[in-house]
Symmetry: C2
Subunit: 97 residues, 2 copies
């Protein structure tokens, strides 16, 4: 394996784990207000497109990396929905009028 | 161009614009507390690796997409630094003791 291949594998690995710290942070803080919903929707949509591409051409690195990122972006979208609702509920209790 | 090539280009385009809505949201709200610093550092590092890979193999789509994402992640890192400092400064003014 030459250095260019190593760079390709390193890039693929780094791209795969991009959203791991964000999922962990949101899971710990239950706070999603500063996260862009559109960013997550674009990530989710792009991984579905890449998955289709990878499956059509039988590219396992593309399939594995995007399958993993797709799962993480779906988790973030669920967190965004669940924890945004929680803030609305708390606001309503604090200001009942 | 067959549908697989179209999927590849669509995926590349979507991946390129992933962080545009997040940069816009942070720029408008000046709020970065929920964003993971490690996510941004990984994005920045991965795009540098992909840029090296793209330049070595003369892959212009890889170079252009990652150059753009690299620029956006550098912007997010700067915002994270600048707007986090602002919150610390305000906290110090409010609680001077």
């Amino acid at each position: 394996m030459n250095w260019i291949e190593i760079a390709g594998h390193t890039g693929a690995l780094l791209s795969s784990i991009t959203f791991v710290p964000q999922v962990y942070k949101v899971w710990k803080t239950k706070s999603v207000g500063d996260l862009s919903l559109y960013m997550m929707l674009i990530v989710f949509a792009s991984t579905l497109v890449w998955l289709t591409y990878g499956i059509a051409l039988n590219l396992w690195p593309v399939i594995l990396a995007n399958g993993f990122i797709c799962f993480l972006s779906a988790l973030l979208l669920y967190f965004k929905y669940a924890f945004s609702r929680k803030v609305v509920a708390v606001t309503k209790i604090e200001k009942p009028e």
